[in-house]
């Protein structure tokens, strides 16, 4: 498929160990320029941990990560962002006591130089850069379809709008690669439609996207390639059709969810709810009705 496009991210033999737990266990992953790659897998498979390693928040136990041809293993997260990698978080992490606009403006941090005395004296160069920062931030808010009051505090917004602000904020760092960790979690149907459309528009800007998502409908619709992870390892890698028909994936995905639900309820707070499981199964082309019928009552996914 897109394999002819140059590689922008290359992860080799990534190992992330927490005590005895191997959250990521020898993962390989390649992202090509301009593509949309989805990363799926059961809860606790190590998807978020892999993201955290790539974006510099975790220092991997071993392995190599190359972004734009350069090793980023020892870099700080802020440096990796400056290099052109942006991310969102699984549990919304906006700056709660800042306005919507200021949240998005933080993304422009590394692109403008202002000295403290510029701010102190409100020099013309300060005013000019602030104006540019303001325009950029408002531009990105429009781009993601935010229609509220940008001077409100983010906590005053409905959940779906907060998700949009988080994406606008990430885009404002001017990324080449955007990592989205479960952007559809907690969104309603129409918000999911808008997200799918937004992901398409982001790709059209030339940004590569890696997407962690449990919503199979969304994954099947937007992805060009899907990487399935289980127990920190790659289980399958291929086009949506290949993944849909891969018996290993069907087995692991449904089997693992069921098995875990039985003994780890309460430990994993993001367990799939029954409905998601049905949707997932339907999208994967299997009937899960007989399986989910005897699943124990699972906690609803927590909405943050």
């Amino acid at each position: 498929m897109k394999s002819t496009a140059p590689t922008i991210l290359e992860v080799r033999d990534l190992l992330m160990q927490f005590g005895g737990v191997k959250a990521v266990d020898g993962l390989n992953m390649t992202v090509h320029d301009g593509e949309i790659l989805s990363v799926i897998g059961p809860n606790g498979a190590g998807k978020t941990s892999a993201f955290n390693c790539i974006s510099g928040f975790y220092k991997p136990t071993s392995g190599s990560i190359k972004f734009l041809g350069e090793s980023i293993l020892k870099q700080h997260p802020s440096h990796i962002t400056k290099m052109g990698m942006a991310r969102t978080f699984q549990n919304l992490r906006l700056f709660k006591e800042m306005s919507v606009l200021d949240n998005v403006k933080t993304g422009a941090h590394s692109r403008f130089s202002q000295h403290w005395y510029d701010a102190f004296l409100h020099t013309p160069s300060f005013a000019k850069s602030e104006k540019q920062i303001d325009e950029m931030a408002r531009g990105w808010l429009d781009f993601v379809g935010f229609k509220g009051d940008e001077e409100l505090y983010v906590t005053q917004l409905p959940y779906g709008e907060q998700r949009r602000v988080e994406i606008a904020r990430a885009l404002n760092t001017s990324p080449k690669l955007l990592l989205l960790d479960e952007p559809a979690a907690g969104l309603n149907h129409s918000e999911k439609r808008a997200l799918i459309e937004l992901i398409g528009r982001i790709q059209a800007l030339g940004v590569s996207i890696v997407l962690i998502e449990h919503d199979m409908g969304l994954v099947m619709e937007v992805s060009e390639r899907i990487l399935v992870i289980n127990y920190g390892k790659e289980l399958a890698d291929g086009s949506p059709e290949e993944i849909r028909n891969n018996p290993l994936v069907i087995e692991a995905y449904l089997g693992a969810s069921e098995g875990k639900a039985a003994d780890t309820t309460g430990i994993y707070e993001h367990l799939l709810d029954e409905n998601d499981l049905k949707v997932a199964a339907a999208d994967l082309g299997v009937s899960a009705s007989h399986k989910s019928a005897h699943l124990p009552a699972m906690p609803k996914r927590k909405e943050h």
Binding site: L94, F95, K96, K105, T106, H109, A119, F120, F143, L171
Partner: protein, 407 residues
């Protein structure tokens, strides 16, 4: 690297909340005016002396607000930098014969060094460690001062000189022709107004001009006849004006620092350090700048106080002082400039007023604090407060719909 631009740039915008800011400026202007004319009504040096103490608390609260309110760093030993400033200026002027103003750069330098020494290693850790380290640092400074010879041991330093410039010092008092004070305000107003006008901010220029004229008129009326000579014979009043000048500098400058990218980096780091890193913000750099700016500000307050009191002793730099200033910030509203001004005045005035009421004033003060925290947990004037008339501004402003915007 090529910059990613939103395709939707430069769309029509709604009115912003700038009206709120103007309202705050008015309050601040009124506040400054009141403290400015106070000496004309009360040439009672005791009251003016209290005013100076109050202003110094407000200065400290403003500085700690940068550290705690903006950058979210819990500093339990803020008074240490206040001590560094006081002792640096005290030692240089009494032991080395420097003039007070010459000590200012030395104080700034000493506080920067102290800030780096204490903040450098600890700011890499999570904030709980910082609280403990700063608590210890505050005590170390006090105990060191108590035991060194150069700091005068337990009795401290006496005879710290006043501000002097060449032959003239605060001791000589200040005699001014009465017309010069209104004239000063007119000239300053004209200068600021003209530069605003040059920056095409006509409205702001006119407002500044009118405020200057108004102040000049008030000052002229207060001085009786313009041909009089006004004499500030007591140096206390001169200290008072010095404190006001520094305060105005802080009131204007500190919120300005918080407006640009530095301020956003502070607030982002405070709200969520990981997310701030993900935005490309070097959170360590953000924290240490806040810490150093706070330190320098406290050092200057310390110098102002040392020269005003003319003696310093280790006993003044107790942990209680750090705790009080921290309370001023928390009670006023972390990160809110009007809030910390109110908080600074509150923690100074409340025990002072309670002095006559009750012997156990700090106990009463504690109860008062509890009441404030129960009813206003985010402070008396929180940073996130929205003025009543701005709450529903968007209901009135018709927002262009998405289609209109993209059309």
């Amino acid at each position: 690297m090529e910059l990613l631009m939103p395709p939707t740039l430069g769309k029509p915008r709604l009115a912003t909340l700038s009206f709120d800011r103007k309202f705050l400026y008015c309050i601040a202007g009124f506040f400054v005016l009141v403290v400015l004319v106070l000496p004309y009504f009360t040439i009672n040096t005791y009251v003016i002396g209290l005013g100076i103490q109050g202003l110094i608390y407000v200065l400290l609260a403003l500085g700690l607000n940068v550290v705690v309110g903006y950058a979210g760093l819990l500093d339990l030993g803020y008074v240490a930098f206040y001590a560094v400033g006081a002792y640096t200026s005290g030692i240089l002027t009494t032991k080395f014969g420097w003039q007070m103003w010459q000590a200012v750069p030395a104080v700034i330098l000493a506080c920067i060094v102290a800030g780096i020494v204490i903040g450098g290693p600890t700011l890499r850790l999570r904030s709980d460690y910082l609280a403990i380290v700063t608590l210890g640092f505050g005590e170390i400074i006090r105990i060191t001062a108590q035991n060194l010879e150069i700091t005068g041991g337990p009795s401290g330093i006496f005879g710290i000189p006043t501000w002097s410039f060449g032959d003239w010092s605060f001791n000589d008092g200040l005699s001014l022709p009465a017309w010069s004070i209104p004239a000063f305000f007119l000239v300053v107003g004209a200068l600021i107004g003209a530069s605003l006008y040059a920056m095409k901010k006509q409205v702001a220029a006119i407002v500044t001009g009118s405020v200057a004229v108004l102040t000049a008129v008030i000052m002229a009326v207060l001085s009786g006849s313009l041909t009089n000579t006004i004499t500030f014979s007591s140096k206390v009043i001169l200290y008072y004006f010095t404190a006001i000048i520094v305060l105005v500098l802080g009131l204007v400058g500190i919120p300005r620092l918080a407006q640009g990218k530095l301020g956003r980096a502070w607030k982002a780091t405070r709200d969520d350090e990981d997310a701030a890193e993900a935005m490309g913000i070097n959170t360590y750099a953000a924290k240490i700048t806040a810490y150093i700016i706070g330190a320098v500000w406290a050092g200057i307050a310390g110098q102002l106080n040392a020269t005003y009191i003319s003696s310093i002793a280790p006993g003044t730099f107790q942990f209680l002082q750090s705790a009080l200033v921290l309370m001023a910030v928390v009670i006023g509203g972390m990160g809110s400039i009007p809030g910390v001004v109110v908080g600074g005045l509150f923690i100074f005035l409340a025990p002072e007023l309670l002095r006559d009421v009750w012997d156990n004033r700090y106990f009463a003060f504690g109860i008062l604090l509890l009441i404030v925290m129960i009813f206003r947990p985010k402070g008396l004037w929180p940073a996130t407060s929205v003025l009543p008339w701005s709450r529903d501004r968007r209901a009135k402003d018709k927002l262009p719909s998405a289609n209109e915007v993209t059309a």
